[in-house]
Each structure stands twice: as structure tokens, then as C-alpha cells.
């Protein structure tokens, strides 16, 4: 169809155009110009970028909302973790006293650790029940095996149903810890259960303990540590852990305790609103110079689980106050990142920078913004279409009577042409009709004149041949009578001498036909003739005899 249209346009360019095409072209050009100007004005007024701005505003709101939400949630968990650590430390202190050992000697009594942990199980389970976390744990810096490399003694309870559907009951399982303690508390062991905690490769344990032991800071609210995303050996789930050191009254560090924020729970708590942007997601991740490391953080979004978000997102460009990011798999994302403080000032970990990013695939952003403007584009396309349609309609309607008239003019019979209600055309038609009438009259007169002339010639010829005295006398009388004509009558007579008709004489003398007829009567009377025909005979004789006017 496009090809056909182009061919037609090309043909039009080389051909003389009809009036209707010209008119349509002018109208179409006019309409298109108006639409174009309107489009430019709206563009200049920022109407089309307004859609992008509204999406930017949404992004701003969402990131602020999530920033407050995550910051508040993590802060609360941190403070509650500090409270848990104080409670557990006090409980361990009491246990130590009852068992007649010193705080520093706990590690030297592996046979007592199950009893120690058993006493903490109730505290831990209550804490797990009352906090918005997916797990709670205590890890002692002591092993039941009394070997440095052996798994640490501890307890780790988890809620596997970390739903955002609060109506669904939550169940608690044991991931780590003595099975006897779990069973005594009616808790099932997870498939990944182990009795001890292998923390040899767990940076969160060593970092928290070392900070507590080396920093000199004894305020727990400065010593907690949020780990990077991690996974206990053999576990299938990934999570961030809040680790708070367990510090005895004599500053002995027993170990750590804290909460688990699983990837699933983070998703359920902090996924951005996905109604408008189905694939948008939030990422809480360590920030580095060129981007964010989602592989070390957590991701929340309707369509993104943690398994896809391993790796670093590199910021490579910016557009409309947003950053463009490149994922390890080459996918490009767009969004914003804001720093988010997980650690208080004075914390040994305060230099660790985390960021909250709200991102979505670039294609989704373009699609959504484009969709917003599509309404405008559609409106302009519709307007243009209507304008062109109107141009076709108007040009056809306007040209139709003109075309009909022109067509009619070409025909022999112009009398049947209807009135057009267009003054100029109706005037033209009237004029043409009058012309036709005059031409008709003139022809008739000419025919009559020619006939009369022929007759006169014949008479003259006859008379010349047999001209008699009375005729000559009448001719002489005629010539003499000419002197009696007035000046005007003489002009009229002379014009007849020149062969003009009465109508032509009237036009020539700027008088009406009727005036000429009036003069004719007088002339006939003065010259002694009864008709124009008789007078034409004498005129012919005058010409033949060379009589002057």
C-alpha cells in the first residue's frame, strides 16, 4: 500500500494537477502545518517530557519510601538485636555463675555447652517470634569438640514461612544446634540441619568478634554488624545476618547472636510497587566506586528472586537524572541509587557503604514512558487524520460546482446549467447566457442583412439594367433628402452605410437599441423610405454610383 501511495505521489509530481488536487494539497498542507505547530508548541512546553517526569517522580517517591522503610526496619532489628545480645549475655552470665566457672572458661568446658545453649533456647525462640526476621541465632566462640577448627556451638532457629501473607501460620525449624534442644522445644530439624556451626569461612562471625575485641568500643549499639549476603554450609537459602557480640560483664566476648533477614523475607517486605512497572526491583547492596554489588546484597521484586541477581551492576551512563546500569549478563537497567547507612557513626564498620537502588530493565522503562506519550502521539495522529479527511471532503465539496460548471460550459447547451449559489459563477453563467443570446441575435440579423443585401443587389442589378426615369428621380430625391437629416441621424445613416447592424450601431454610439430604432423611424420618414430594406437598396445604389456620404 505504501508503495502504491509513493507511486501515486511520484506521478502527481510530474502531471498537471486538477483543481481539486491543488485544493486538497493546500488544505492538507495547512492542516498539517497547524498540527505540526501545535506539536512543536506542546513539545516546547514540555508536555511530552511530562510523562517521563511523572515516572521520575514515582521513582523518587518509591526510593524514598523504601529508603525509610528499609532504614527503619533494619535499625529496629539492629536495636532489638542489641537488646537480645544484652539479654543473652546476662543469661549466660547467670549460667556461668551457677556452674561455678568464669566467663573466660566457657570454651574450656565443652561438656557444659548443651546445657548453656538449652537455657538460651527459650530466649531465642521468643525473640524470633517477636521480631520481623526470618531466623535467630546464637553462636558461641566455643566448640563442643574442644578443637579450634571444629564447628562452633550454637543455636539457629528459622521460620521458613516468612510470608507477607500474615494469615498463614509461621512454623519454626532448627537449622543448627543440638537436636535434643530442638526436640525439647517441639521444633523440627530442617533437612539441612547440623549440630554445630561451621563458621570457618563466615566473615560475619570473625568480623563481629574481632571488632568487639579490638575496637575498645563497648557500646553494643556501635558494635553490631550486618553481613553481606551469605549462606550457612549446606543451607539452600541466602540471607543477610545481623551479628551482635555477646559481651560479658568482664568484657569477655562469648560469641555473637542476631537475626537473619532471608532473601525471601526481604523480597516480601521491601519489593517496590510493581503495578505500573512489573519488573521493577529494589536492591540493598554494598556500594563501590563504579556500581553496586547485588551479589553481596538482597534483592526485592515481583519477578526477581535472588538467584538471578548475582554479580555487580556497573553504572555506565545517566539519563534524565537517572543512572543506567549494566548487569553482568549484559542486560541494561535504569533507575536510581541512594546511599543507605546500615551502621551508626562510631561503628568500626561505618566506612562500609551500602546503597539502595530501585531499578528496572531499560526496555520496561522505555515501554512505560513511551506508552504514556502514546496517548499524545495517538491524539496528534488522529487530528492529522481528521484534518486530511476534512481536506479531502472540503476540497471535493468546494470544487464540485466549479467542476460541474466547467464541464457544462464545454457542452453545447449551457442553458440547463443549474444555479450554484456562488455569486461569481452565477454571474459568469448569466454573462455567458447573455453572450449566447446576443450572438444568436447578431447571427439572425446578419442572416437577414445578407439576404436583404442579396435582394438589394439583385434589384440594383435589375434596375441598372433597366433603370427608368422615375427610379432615378426617387434616388435623386433620396439623395437630396439626406440633407434634412440631423447630425445624429446622419451618424446612424453613415453607420448603416458601413454595413453595421442596428445593435452594432447602438453599441458604437453608446445608445440603446431602442434609440436606434427611434432614429430609424425619423430617418425613414425624412428619406422617403418605408423600411430599412428600402433604405439599404438606396445605400447600395449610392455605393455603386460612387455617391459620397
Amino acid at each position: 500500500m505504501l508503495r502504491e501511495a509513493l507511486l501515486l505521489l511520484r506521478r502527481l509530481r510530474g502531471e498537471p494537477r486538477t483543481l481539486q488536487v491543488r485544493l486538497f494539497a493546500f488544505f492538507a498542507l495547512f492542516a498539517a502545518s497547524l498540527v505540526g505547530v501545535a506539536f512543536l508548541l506542546l513539545t516546547a512546553a514540555g508536555v511530552f517530557s511530562a510523562a517521563g517526569k511523572s515516572h521520575l517522580a514515582w521513582l523518587d517517591n518509591e526510593i524514598k519510601h523504601l529508603q525509610n522503610s528499609i532504614s527503619g526496619g533494619y535499625s529496629e532489628l539492629s536495636l532489638r538485636g542489641v537488646t537480645l545480645a544484652r539479654t543473652v549475655a546476662l543469661s549466660i552470665g547467670a549460667w556461668v555463675q551457677r556452674n561455678g566457672i568464669t566467663e573466660a572458661d566457657i570454651a574450656a568446658h565443652p561438656e557444659l555447652l548443651e546445657s548453656l545453649l538449652s537455657e538460651q533456647a527459650g530466649i531465642l525462640l521468643t525473640a524470633l517470634e517477636n521480631n520481623e526476621c526470618s531466623g535467630a541465632f546464637i553462636i558461641l566462640d566455643a566448640s563442643m569438640d574442644n578443637k579450634n577448627s571444629a564447628p562452633k556451638a550454637g543455636l539457629y532457629f528459622k521460620r521458613t514461612e516468612t510470608n507477607n501473607v500474615t494469615s498463614i501460620a509461621s512454623r519454626t525449624y532448627c537449622l543448627r544446634g543440638p537436636a535434643s534442644i530442638a526436640r525439647a522445644n517441639g521444633i523440627e530439624l530442617l533437612g539441612q540441619w547440623r549440630a554445630g556451626m561451621d563458621v570457618n569461612s563466615a566473615e560475619f562471625f570473625d568480623r563481629t568478634l574481632n571488632a568487639a575485641r579490638q575496637s575498645g568500643e563497648k557500646d553494643l549499639s556501635r558494635l553490631y554488624y550486618w553481613s553481606r549476603r551469605c549462606q550457612m554450609e549446606g543451607d539452600s537459602e541466602q540471607y543477610m545476618l545481623l551479628c551482635v557480640p555477646l559481651i560479658a560483664a568482664d568484657n569477655t566476648v562469648y560469641g555473637v547472636c542476631g537475626w537473619e533477614m532471608s532473601a525471601m523475607m526481604f523480597k516480601n517486605l521491601y519489593a517496590p510497587d510493581s503495578v505500573q512497572y512489573p519488573r521493577v526491583f529494589a536492591a540493598l547492596a554494598p556500594f563501590f566506586e563504579d556500581g553496586i554489588d547485588t551479589g553481596a546484597g538482597l534483592v526485592a521484586g515481583s519477578s526477581f528472586m535472588s538467584s538471578r541477581m548475582n554479580g555487580q551492576f556497573l553504572a555506565f551512563d545517566s539519563r534524565q537524572d537517572m543512572t543506567l546500569w549494566s548487569a553482568p549478563d549484559g542486560t541494561q537497567y535504569i533507575g536510581r541509587a541512594e546511599s543507605l547507612a546500615l551502621f551508626p557513626s562510631g561503628s568500626p564498620f561505618a566506612n562500609e557503604t551500602w546503597a539502595l537502588a530501585v531499578l528496572m530493565p531499560m526496555e520496561d522503562w522505555d515501554a512505560v514512558v513511551g506508552q504514556s506519550n502514546a496517548v499524545f502521539y495517538g491524539a496528534f495522529a488522529g487530528l492529522l487524520f481528521i484534518s486530511l479527511f476534512a481536506a479531502v471532503f472540503i476540497s471535493r465539496r468546494y470544487i464540485r460546482p466549479v467542476a460541474l460548471t466547467l464541464q457544462g460550459i464545454k457542452s453545447d447547451d449551457r442553458t440547463g446549467l443549474p444555479k450554484t449559489q456562488i455569486v461569481e459563477i452565477d454571474d459568469l453563467l448569466e454573462y455567458l447566457a447573455m453572450q449566447d443570446e446576443e450572438r444568436k441575435t447578431l447571427n439572425e440579423e446578419r442572416e437577414i442583412l445578407a439576404a436583404e443585401l442579396e435582394q438589394a443587389k439583385s434589384i440594383v442589378q435589375t434596375r441598372n439594367n433597366s433603370i427608368d426615369a422615375p427610379v432615378l428621380a426617387s434616388f435623386k430625391q433620396f439623395l437630396e433628402n439626406r440633407q434634412t437629416l440631423t447630425e445624429t441621424e446622419r451618424d446612424v445613416f453613415n453607420n448603416y452605410m458601413e454595413g453595421l447592424t442596428a445593435r452594432e450601431i447602438a453599441e458604437k454610439m453608446f445608445v440603446t437599441h431602442r434609440t436606434i430604432k427611434f432614429h430609424n423611424k425619423n430617418i425613414y420618414a425624412k428619406l422617403g423610405v418605408s423600411s430599412l430594406k428600402e433604405m439599404q437598396i438606396y445605400i447600395t445604389m449610392m455605393k455603386e454610383m460612387g455617391e459620397p456620404r
Binding site: 500500500m1 505504501l2 502504491e4 501511495a5 501515486l8 481539486q20 486538497f24 492538507a28 565443652p110 548443651e114 569438640d145 571444629a150 556451638a153 521458613t160 514461612e161 510470608n163 507477607n164 501473607v165 500474615t166 494469615s167 498463614i168 501460620a169 509461621s170 512454623r171 543440638p178 537436636a179 535434643s180 526436640r183 517441639g186 523440627e188 530439624l189 530442617l190 533437612g191 539441612q192 540441619w193 547440623r194 549440630a195 554445630g196 539452600s236 537459602e237 525471601m264 516480601n268 510493581s274 512489573p278 519488573r279 515481583s302 519477578s303 526477581f304 528472586m305 535472588s306 538467584s307 538471578r308 515501554a367 506508552q371 495517538g378 495522529a381 487524520f385 486530511l388 479527511f389 479531502v392
Partner: protein
Amino acid sequence: MKKTIIAILCLCLLPLLGCGASEPLDPKNPVTLTMWHNFGGGMQQTMDILIDEFNATVGKERGVIVSVEAISASANLQEALAMILNGDPGAPSMPDIVTAYPKTAIQFKAKELITNLDEYFSEEELSAYIPAFVDEGRFGDGGLYVFPFAKSTELLFLNQTLFDRFSAATGVTTDCFGSFEGIADAAARYYEWTDGQTPDVHGDGKQFYTADSWVNLAQAGMLQQGAQLFNGESLDLYNPAYKHIWQTCYTPSVAGGFAIYDGYSSDLSKTGDIICSSGSSAGVLFYGDTVTYPDNITTEKVEYSILPYPVFEGGKPVAIQRGNGFMVAKSSLKREYAAAEFLKWFSAPKQNIRFVAETGYMPVTNTAFDAMIPQLMETAPNPLIRKMLEAVMKMYANYEFFTAPVFESYDAIAKDYELNYKTLLKESQKARVSGQDIDMEDSLAAFTALWMK
């Protein structure tokens, strides 16, 4: 002239063309489906990966996003679904896709809350699935309301390492695992043998066997003996076949040998507290390969064997066929269509076999079952999965399978059965320890009386 005008109009209309397609999905405006499922623990990662993959591939191309909102045990999901069903205050919104058993789905169907999936699957598509599995999800009107994606049965999980030690000392062979009577005898021998290892402590023998579901054992046992546990919606406990089951299990449960435990048998297996257990093939991942002994230090690498479900002596081989399916909420054409697209992808042989290989379930398509399972029996990375598949395939060749009856109060009755059974046996254990004379017949009468209330 007319051609010119038409051409110009066509040019103008070109941008407006292309609308009004009949495809209900639009990749530019994807529909987000909410989902609840019960595959937690070790199976969650498999589900996560598969759902991610769907969202990133077919879902992206077609315009479907599956968002998991809840992962919980079947019983917990059941509670939330009951709230929805009853319209309780504070009930959550019905998810688009949820795992459910037919007994639950039938209640949703009665209230017209779930959709008939026949509307979204052609006959040809459904013919790719094992007919019996599809039929399980059909209700009275013939409509398909629970879509199968994985099935399981019950098997016998045997700690071969510990058993070999016992076998070497006592001469008890694996032949005992063919029948419940054989297991009961071996359990008595095991309790005696382990008790004898600490001569100075009397009565500290160890348990040999437990069942994850005693009500399933009773149902299978009755059918093996040609009877049925459920007579309509009530229990036929007066049946001689049931008395035989009670006789077989009662003595080792009270005298030691059968563990009466509130959790899953895999818990006890992990700590070496039992030798064998009957449970779902889908529980295979929970057994692991290590036993941690009560000192919390000593661990031992062990090897498990997986055997067909035991059969009561003289009975025919019958075992339960379990496994829930997906039900899809009645909503809009777009959402239902999108849900069906996900189900098709998820249950297709390629994905189905991946799910099977990682979770211990059985596939539901003919291709996966007939062609891929034999291959998987050789190649599955987890040896326990390989053993499980071998045992299941043996059972599919030789066993008859039954499914739990579908009626509204089934769950409540099954739950009460477990609770009453365990409570009574634990009380009998205590009474025996305290020196009371316990009679099996009296206990059965007491148990039966509980159901008369």
C-alpha cells in the same frame, strides 16, 4: 484521484493499524500472577530457579510474571485457604496459583472460586500427561480443577550402614523389610540388641522404625488386606484387617522398637535414633548422608537404601499415591490464561524432570516418566534420588496405588487419627514403664471408642 485519496488515507492510518489482536497476553503489559506453594527447605531453591527462569524466558516473551508470595507447609497453606474459603475477616487475597490437594480444591470448586483448566488445555496437550494423574484433579462435572505437576508415593528409607551393623550381629536380613510384620519382629530384635549393649542400663534400647503418617499406613494396610479404612466419611476400625494392623504395630510401639514421634522420621534418622522409616518419596532430601550422635560431636557418614513400601503378610502390594497440584483462581481471562501458560511450561517434560531430579517427586508427563526417568536413574547427581527413583519404578511395575479419599472432613479426621493414635500409644508406653499391664485389645477398644464420641 480516488486512488490518491485512498493511498493518503492509508498512509495516515498505518500507525493505527496492528491493534485488536486476539492474544490475551501482551509482553509490553505483563500480568503478574501471585503464587503460593509448599516447596520450602531444600526444594525452595529449585522452585526459585525454575520460576526465575520462566519469568526471564517464556514469561517475558508472553507477558507473564509469576511472583511467589508464600512458601509454607501444606497444612499452613490449608489454614489460609480455609480462611479465604470461609470469607473470614482478615483472610488474605486468593492467589492466582496455589498448590492444593483435591480434597481442598473440591471445596473451592463448590464455591466457584477456581477455574476449570480444561478451558485452557487442548485434548492433545492433556494427552501428554499420565491419565491417572490428570483424572485425580477432575471433579464431578468432569472438569479439571487440580493440575498435576509432581506425584509421590511412600517408600521405606533404610539406614543401611546402621542396619548392616545390626544385621551382622543378629543375622536379621533385609528380607524383614518386605512386610510390616517383618519390620515389627526386627524392631523387637533391634530394641533388645541395643538394650543389651548397655547391660548396666535396662530399657535403653533404641527404636527401629517409624512412619511419617500412621493414617496412610492404616489406609494402605487395609487395602493390602482387601479392606478399606474409610467407610464413607467414617473409619472402619472394627474391621479384622484393622485389628491386624493394630496388633502388628502396637507391641513394638509400646514395648520399644517403633518410634512414636511428632515430627518427621528424617529428624530421627539424622541422629541415628531409628534404622528405617516409611515416608514420602518427596522427603528423600531430608535424610542427608550423615548421622550426628547425641554428643553433638560424633558424626558418621552413612548410606541409605530406599525400598518399596512394605506389605502386610498375605496382602497385595498397595501404596498411596500422593502429590498435590496447582489450582488456579477464577479471575479474568487474561490471568487464567497466563496461569495456564505457566502450568504448561512448568509441567513440560524438560522442566518436570528437572524438578524431579532435585526434589524427589515423580514426573507427570508420559515422556518424562517413560523416557527420562530411566535416564535420570543413571544420571541424577544425588545418589538418594537415584535410589528413590529405582524403588518407585519398581513399585509402579508391581504395586497398585490409591489416593486419599476426597471429602471435606478428610483432613480433620486424618489429623485426629494421628493425634489420637500417638497419644494413646505414648500413654501406653508410660503405663508400661510404670509397670502397668497393658492389653492390646483394651487399647484398640479405647482407640475405637475415641471415634464414637
